[in-house]
């Protein structure tokens, strides 16, 4: 894992001191809320429905046990004993007090963490594949590149006031586990004739205008990557719409001028940027890469004893192959039946930290699906890990099943939301609580957003649900056929919306129709793509 150098630590410490002063001035009435709001947002502090909410950055979703324990400590000391893991691989605290926030940030900084650039029209936390460094199908470890982009984008003076927020994802596998093409910039590391480079996709996103990023360049050499990204941002910064917040994201620019014209402008800008020498020297890349060297794998390749049936089910559902023989990737589902997707108590966070330290070379990952990963667990230890997880109510064997629901905080917490998301997730998970039935349905990615901003990624759900406000009453639209994976697609609305109970019934009807129509190993989304919307519509509304 990357470790801060003196520069990293100094800028984070300085920012904490600066924010402490700003908070003090606000508390003393020396500055107004209008003056203070942009300052607190630059430090990840929002004002939500019930209290201040702090969004803490977890760069590319990677952290160690010391950092994870700090997240638990903050939940206990400054919040109400829990945290909420988000679709941007971050964590949010819902009950933060302004007067305590600087102390909190100081404690975070002591473990090389912060909340900078988790809000505002800047480059947000870089996201990546939660299996980075462990996946058998990756051509390279994407984390050094994500870290390079983190350093480049942190306090980047030219990109601190972009037309709108900006999200970048880096993956290095053909299987897209990071919704890469639904980002402002998506990078897929690839090799061409043995040379490392990246496919560059620009102009994807969800929100009110969902778009799949077109490929802007099929291969940018690794040596040129930073300059190329800088050029992509420069074109956006120059021509992105600042007059209309709804048209300010880069996806609108790319869509309006067209991918070819955008590509041409980026090429022109790149020719100039390349003369500025911003690409890091090889020595710096090697310095960063050294932090992500593979751990000292030495476990024998032994298959775990499957005689405990509950353990065997968990193995099949939540444990994925590792590139190193003798090891496995453990997915910890934060989606208990009837629970709140992505929430974990401080005690559970501590348990996960302990397990990472003892069994996973001190590493954890946060996934965009609001789960946690122990990336490097020896197969011989899987049973012990599962037992500890079960003890902490963290052994839900439902990864990628219908109850593994992504849901935004919705109207229960969020000031932007129009409808509640969490109760819908709870009701659907409860309706499908039967484990056999879930497994029979198979992979089904269900995603719920409480408003058109789509933090719950509903556009990318095999089944998506969007909460809207219909004359002061919650109403839920249903979409089918979306995907955030390598088969990326945007879901289509089935028809008129439903009330809270109606949407649960509609989901069940769609699922039962799939079970009736599926052929062979088809997943829900495969059947939908083969047969189209009509049979589902008839089942839902007929």
């Amino acid at each position: 894992m990357y470790k801060y150098d003196n520069y990293d630590q100094a800028i984070v410490d300085a920012r904490v001191a600066e924010f402490r002063d700003q908070v003090n001035r606000r508390m003393a009435g020396e500055i107004t809320e209008d003056q203070f709001k942009p300052l607190r947002l630059m430090n990840g502090l929002y004002l939500q429905l019930h209290a201040y909410m702090l969004r803490v950055a977890i760069p590319y979703g990677t952290l160690d046990s010391r950092q994870m324990r700090m997240l638990a400590h903050i939940a206990r000391k400054y919040d109400r004993d829990y945290g909420h893991f988000t679709t941007r691989q971050n964590i949010q605290y819902n009950w933060i007090k302004l007067e305590e926030c600087a102390d909190l940030l100081e404690e975070l900084a002591s473990v090389e963490m912060h909340a900078i650039q988790t809000s505002g029209n800047c480059i947000r936390n870089i996201s990546s594949d939660q299996y980075a460094g462990a996946a058998a199908d990756e051509v390279a470890d994407p984390r050094p590149w994500a870290e390079l982009l983190r350093q480049w984008s942190t306090f980047h003076p030219e990109f601190s006031y972009l037309p709108r927020k900006f999200k970048i994802a880096v993956i290095a596998s053909p299987e897209d586990r990071a919704a890469m093409r639904l980002h402002d910039i998506g990078l897929e590391l690839v090799k061409q004739d043995g040379e490392l480079g990246a496919r560059v996709f620009v102009g994807g996103g969800m929100g009110r205008t969902p778009m799949i990023a077109p490929e802007i360049n099929p291969f940018v050499k690794a040596d040129d990557l930073l300059s190329y990204i800088e050029a992509c941002l420069r074109v956006y910064n120059r021509y992105g719409r600042r007059d209309n917040i709804y048209k300010a994201r880069i996806k609108i620019l790319v869509h309006e001028i067209g991918a070819d014209e955008y590509r041409r402008q980026v090429a022109e800008e790149f020719a100039h940027v390349k003369t500025l020498g911003i690409d890091p020297p090889l020595a710096e890349l090697e310095r960063i890469s050294a932090f992500f060297a593979a751990p000292a794998f030495d476990a024998a390749d032994v298959e775990p004893d499957r005689s405990d049936p509950d353990f065997a089910v968990w193995l099949d559902q939540n444990v994925k192959p590792h590139k190193q023989a003798g090891y496995a990737i453990v997915n910890i589902s934060l989606k208990p039946i009837g629970g709140i997707p992505g929430d974990a108590s401080s005690a559970q966070i501590d348990v996960m930290a302990d397990l990472a330290e003892k069994y996973s070379f001190d590493e954890l990952r946060v996934t965009h699906a609001q789960n946690i990963v122990l990336p490097h667990v020896a197969k011989r230890d899987l049973y012990a890990v599962w037992q500890a997880l079960r003890e902490a109510d963290l052994a839900n064997a439902n990864l990628d099943l219908i109850s593994d629901i992504i849901a935004c905080p919705g109207l229960d917490y969020c000031s932007l939301a129009n409808a509640r998301s969490i109760p819908i997730a709870q009701k659907i998970a409860t309706r499908f609580a039967d484990a056999e039935r879930q497994r029979d349905v198979g992979e089904l990615k269900l995603k719920i957003s409480g408003c058109i901003n789509a933090c719950g990624h509903h556009h990318a759900g095999h089944i998506g649900i969007l909460g809207v406000d219909k004359k002061g009453v919650e109403n839920y639209q249903l979409t089918l056929g979306g995907s955030g994976a390598e088969d990326v697609s945007i879901g289509k609305i089935t028809g008129p919306g439903f009330d809270e109970d109606g949407i649960v019934d509609a989901v069940e009807k769609a699922v039962e129709k799939y079970r009736e129509l599926r052929e062979g190993d088809e997943r829900f989304v495969d059947t939908y793509r083969r047969v189209g919307m009509d049979p589902f519509k008839e089942a839902i509304y007929g």
Binding site: G29, L47, A51, W95, L98, E99, L411, Q426, D469, E500
Partner: protein, 98 residues
């Protein structure tokens, strides 16, 4: 009726204008009627409360209830965590929210 609400500056807690000050309990809120704007401006100047605004509400025997669901959720707390609401000991306390 109309209520004046905002969030406390230091804690961020939802708060309601009582006629002489602020309370976190919506039951303490008073109808600000047509005078809401002037109270709002005075309170903005006092800088005790963040972003105060006026909402429509309904008078009930149990006290004022915000007209819109968002403010009803604000008034008590998250519907999915009764233990974190203002009335954790009474699971039925939020029956009027939805």
């Amino acid at each position: 009726m109309k209520l004046l609400t905002g969030n406390e500056l230091g804690s961020g807690a939802v708060t309601w204008w009582t006629g002489s000050g602020w309370s976190i309990h919506v039951e303490d809120a008073v109808d600000v009627g047509e005078g809401g704007e002037s109270i709002l401006h005075a309170e903005e100047g006092a800088r005790r409360v963040n972003a105060p605004y006026i909402i429509d509400a309904i008078a009930t025997p149990e006290g004022p209830r915000p007209a819109h669901i968002k403010d009803r959720v604000r008034a008590l707390g998250p519907t999915v965590r009764p233990d974190l609401t203002l009335k954790p000991a009474d699971p039925a306390a939020g029956d009027w929210i939805i």
